[in-house]
């Protein structure tokens, strides 16, 4: 018993010693755990709080609402409409295969459309939005909404999308928007900043030029989400700003008429206010419907547009480089007058052709015009007369005057990136560009607007406007902008040496339209309210051979590609002029028969709408 009790004492001593060791160990471990808690919860609290917020708060950027385009009278010409879309974020879908087949059934997608969606899914990252459908009908949209319980991760979205209510009418001015590609995102900081899947940005035209003003800012939604990305509650909604609305100087009615007049033809019409430089209409034909591009154009439609021989994608007003033909004659005559080469009494005998430097130059009229003065030469567009004064004037002086009046230089500076310079040749140019000396024969054909010279329709319009306003410099514009209040210092500076010379040219243009024997006499309007003055032009697209000259074919008998371009420039009303225009009809044949009658219809409408236009202006001032 004692033995066993002494053993018991030993055992107790042992167990108590060990309990003490264990106790101290426990103490250190507890200190360890508490300090770990302290470290996480007190010291690193901020870091983990941020991480926790990052976990639970997710931001959704919504596409910004794009600014609108309005015409001069405030009509919306590029607006927005609500498009019903269906988005899926693959990452958030538990069973993608099931959901996507379910959607296929519900939306009645065709196999090819379905494949396209699957292909798109492969291209994007799992956390990026897959747009299954971007423009659903209301029926299908509500159908999807009814089945949402079964479509985890599918998001029906009402998206604001671009709409061009006037279809093809403004395409070449406004351009169009389409889904932003990587290049757009890279090149424009603002697109990068506002980018959301499906964001549409301007691809061409003013939509592109004014992208930064139009784009607006995103709405931002902040949601609390759970671990599976499901939205639990909305924490905040930050309203974005709609893009700026841009007002154009264009009159929709006149634009529509221009479109109508050029229907089934290739060509351009532009109309300009001769004092303010406001572009009233600017149309290039054929055009295309920009709405087709908003959600990505189908391959079929794209092929139709691309392969059209009349080249709808080309903006002929700004990009089309045409020989001005006889429409250059006012400038040739003006240059000769200004440089004192001729006076109004200078007369040339036209026999239908003239031999100069061993070469025969023909007048358009085989029988010739007989003795012609400056006024009659302009009126009847006598080529022989202009051969003669061009020869006397020389190409360098001619090019100087032409450039002064706006030819051979971009009219809108950098507003349209596609705009072309055209070409006003001189001796220096030829030496530099072609490395050859200027030939006198080239001067002679330049006198009737043929040869190297190339002008765009908008340049011709500007030239006409600057003749019509008495020879003063203006800067054309198409967007009404705050910038306009500050006019360039050379605005309205005279472009002439002697204002009488401008009057002479204006008078000659009057004769050309309103007097018997004038080339556009048949298109005249006698009512002084609408009366206009103009100059026809017929630009050859190829050299006419002697044989063809003898055949003297009618326009319809010549293959389309070889027909002459028909041109017409005009301004009106003749008394107190206000508007200038230029018309180019590609392969339209004769300027007087094809282009000039269009001017007649245009001036009727332009002048009828003048008062309305003025009243808007007055109202604007009243509001200020």
């Amino acid at each position: 018993m004692i033995n066993s009790s002494s053993d018991n004492v030993k055992k107790l001593n042992s167990i108590n010693r060990r309990m003490f060791i264990t106790g101290s160990l426990k103490f250190f471990i507890m200190v360890g755990i508490v300090s770990r808690l302290f470290f996480l919860q007190v010291k690193e609290n901020k870091k983990y709080l941020t991480l926790s917020d990052k976990n639970r708060i997710r931001e959704w950027k919504l596409a910004p609402v794009r600014g609108e385009f309005q015409d001069y009278f405030g009509n919306v010409i590029a607006g927005n409409f609500e498009a019903y879309q269906l988005h899926v974020i693959p990452e958030q879908v538990e069973n993608f295969k099931y959901v996507i087949y379910r959607l296929k059934d519900l939306l009645e997608l065709s196999d090819s459309e379905f494949k396209k969606v699957l292909k798109k899914k492969k291209e994007i990252k799992p956390w990026e939005t897959l747009i299954v459908s971007n423009n659903l009908s209301w029926d299908k949209f509500s159908k999807i909404n009814n089945h949402l319980y079964d479509l985890n991760g599918v998001k029906p979205v009402i998206s604001i999308s671009r709409n061009y209510p006037f279809n093809e009418n403004f395409t070449h001015i406004i351009g169009y928007v389409s889904q932003a590609n990587e290049q757009d995102i890279e090149n424009t900081e603002l697109i990068k900043k506002n980018f959301v899947p499906g964001l549409k940005v301007g691809k061409i035209g003013l939509e592109k030029s004014f992208e930064e003003k139009l784009i607006g800012t995103n709405d931002i939604e902040r949601y609390e989400v759970n671990a599976y990305g499901r939205r639990i509650s909305q924490l905040e909604f930050q309203k974005g700003k709609k893009g700026q609305t841009l007002k154009l100087t264009v009159d929709t009615e006149i634009q529509k008429l221009a479109n109508e007049l050029l229907k089934d033809k290739a060509g351009s019409i532009c109309v300009m206010d001769i004092f303010t430089g406001e572009v009233i209409a600017m149309h290039s034909s054929p055009s295309f419907d920009p709405n087709l591009f908003v959600f990505g154009i189908s391959q079929d439609n794209w092929q139709i547009i691309r392969n059209d021989p009349m080249k709808p994608l080309l903006n002929k007003t700004l990009q089309g480089r045409y020989s001005p033909g006889s429409t250059l004659k006012p400038i040739v005559a003006l240059s000769a007058l200004e440089n004192g080469i001729i006076n109004t009494n200078f007369t040339v005998r036209c026999t239908g052709k003239t031999e100069l430097y061993d070469q025969t130059y023909h007048c358009w009229k085989k029988e010739g015009h007989g003795y012609v003065s400056l006024r009659n030469a302009m009126k009847m567009s006598c080529d022989t007369y202009f051969y003669e004064i061009a020869r006397k004037l020389g190409v360098d002086k001619l090019s100087e005057t032409a450039k002064k009046f706006g030819l051979g230089k971009k009219v809108f500076d950098n507003l349209f990136e596609i705009e072309k310079d055209g070409l006003i040749p001189n001796t220096q140019w030829k030496k530099n560009a072609l490395g050859k000396g200027w030939l006198l024969g080239e001067t002679i054909i330049t006198g009737i607007g043929q040869g190297y010279i190339q002008t765009t329709p908008i340049q011709l319009c500007l030239m006409t406007a600057q003749i019509a306003n008495g020879g003063y410099k203006i800067y054309p514009k198409i967007v009404i902008d705050d910038k306009d209040k500050i006019k360039p210092s050379d605005y309205y500076t005279p472009l002439y040496k002697n204002s009488r010379n401008i009057k002479i040219i204006q008078d000659a243009m009057f004769g050309s339209t309103n007097e018997v024997m004038g080339t556009s006499y048949r298109s005249r309007i006698d009512n002084p309210k609408y009366q206009f003055a103009g100059k026809t032009g017929t630009a050859q697209v190829k050299k006419i051979t002697e044989r063809e000259r003898e055949l003297d074919l009618k326009t319809s008998e010549i293959p389309y590609e070889q027909r002459d371009h028909a041109l017409y420039i005009a301004y009106g009303p003749y008394v107190n002029p206000r508007y200038a225009l230029s018309i180019v009809v590609e392969h339209g044949g004769n300027g007087s028969t094809t282009a000039a009658p269009m001017a007649k219809k245009l001036f009727k409408l332009i002048i009828d709408r003048h008062e309305m236009r003025q009243s808007i202006n007055e109202k604007k001032y009243l509001e200020i």
Binding site: T22, I29, I33, L37, Y48, S52, N226
Partner: protein
């Protein structure tokens, strides 16, 4: 020393037993039960749903059971020491053959009204068994080869049965419970040191034999950011939850990490994370203090017990509870790799609570019958 002999064969009266109750321990256990219930309510999203209801019922039943056990003489527990061990081992064998497989491991046995996890029970009954084994042993015999081999077999048998389930975490905890008793029984500390060294040296080899998911857990523990959405997810999210709790926590029912389901297994192994997120550093320390008081009381009861068996059991059980708590907390705080180990009483899970409550019951019984000698 002999004055107590007359009590030896005395049956304690009911009221005496009541008087002998350790009320501090009881209150702490009830408090813990209440906290666990509130936390469970929070995991259910602030509603009384399945987990809360079930946890409540278990808590009630098992607390009653604990009280009942505490009235049973500690002698009885001594007498069933081997039997209960054999019963639980046979349950483990049964589970091995007929158990319910869930998420890749066979841990459960179907008792029709309840699914029992015998491995959890083993955490307690191995202490009971070993305490009995060492009770009568003379100190000089403790370090004999025979004793050590026998006790090792007692530990390794259930461990092996649990590892094949497979459930590495629980088998380690069973081993810890057993080793704790061996330690208090007086086995030479050389053996513990050698075992430790041997373990550290063989660790790389052990890792080579681990199952892929276990290997992943270890690797993830070493660098949770390597695969933040995969294996590292639990550790990262748990740390975020705890860390974002701050000093005073986000408030009851306002733990965004758990409410928004970023927290995995928030009912069971990660319950402390949720608690810590909602009640912050202060709350966590309070919870720790409650646990410490409980452990302290268990040890105190052991110290005051006359019988060596009761002492050994209390010390062993106290150490085991301490290890369960620290392993669970270290795990959710990112100090240890994720091994499935519940937090006693707090975590959802009947078997674990049953085992813990039986343990508390026996400790209480030791207290109530503290003067009981066992021959």
């Amino acid at each position: 020393m002999y004055q107590h002999t007359r009590l030896t064969n005395n049956n304690f009266t009911f009221f005496q037993k009541f008087r002998n109750f350790d009320y501090i321990l009881l209150i702490c256990i009830l408090l813990l039960g209440f906290i666990s219930l509130a936390t469970m309510y929070s995991t259910d999203g602030g509603k009384i749903l399945f987990h809360t209801k079930s946890h409540f019922i278990k808590l009630m039943v098992f607390t009653m059971m604990m009280l009942f056990i505490s009235f049973i003489n500690i002698k009885f527990w001594f007498s069933v020491g081997y039997l209960s061990y054999i019963v639980v081992v046979s349950l483990l064998v049964w589970t091995y053959f007929f158990g319910i497989t869930s998420s890749g491991s066979k841990r459960w046995m179907d008792l029709y009204f309840i699914n029992l996890q015998p491995s959890e029970l083993m955490k307690i009954f191995i202490i009971l068994c070993l305490a009995k084994y060492f009770h009568r042993m003379k100190l000089e015999n403790v370090n004999s080869v025979y004793t050590i081999l026998t006790s090792l077999i007692i530990i390794l048998l259930p461990m092996g049965l649990v590892i094949v389930q497979p459930d590495l975490g629980t088998s380690v905890l069973i081993a810890v419970s057993g080793i704790a008793v061996l330690w208090f029984a007086g086995i030479n500390h050389k053996y513990f040191i050698y075992t430790m060294l041997g373990f550290v040296i063989s660790l790389p080899f052990v890792i080579a034999f681990l199952k892929p998911y276990q290997k992943l857990r270890v690797l993830t523990f070493l660098n949770p950011d390597k695969d933040p959405l995969g294996a590292g997810y639990q550790i990262i999210q748990s740390k975020i939850a705890v860390g974002s709790g701050g000093i005073f926590g986000k408030g009851f029912l306002k733990g965004t990490q758990s409410y928004l389901e970023f927290l995995p297994e928030k009912h069971t192994d990660f319950i402390f994370t949720l608690f810590s997120e909602e009640f912050g550093f202060v709350g966590s320390v309070v919870l720790l203090v409650i646990y410490i008081i409980i452990i302290y009381r268990i040890i105190a009861i052991g110290a005051n017990s006359r019988s060596y068996f009761a002492k050994l059991f209390c010390y062993g059980f106290g150490a085991a509870i301490f290890v369960f708590i620290t392993i669970n907390m270290s795990m959710v705080l990112g100090l240890l790799p994720i091994v499935g180990s519940p937090l006693p009483i707090m975590s959802y899970g009947g078997s674990s609570m049953l085992a813990t409550m039986i343990g508390f019951g026996i400790v209480m019984s030791a207290r109530v019958h503290s003067q009981q000698l066992i021959a």
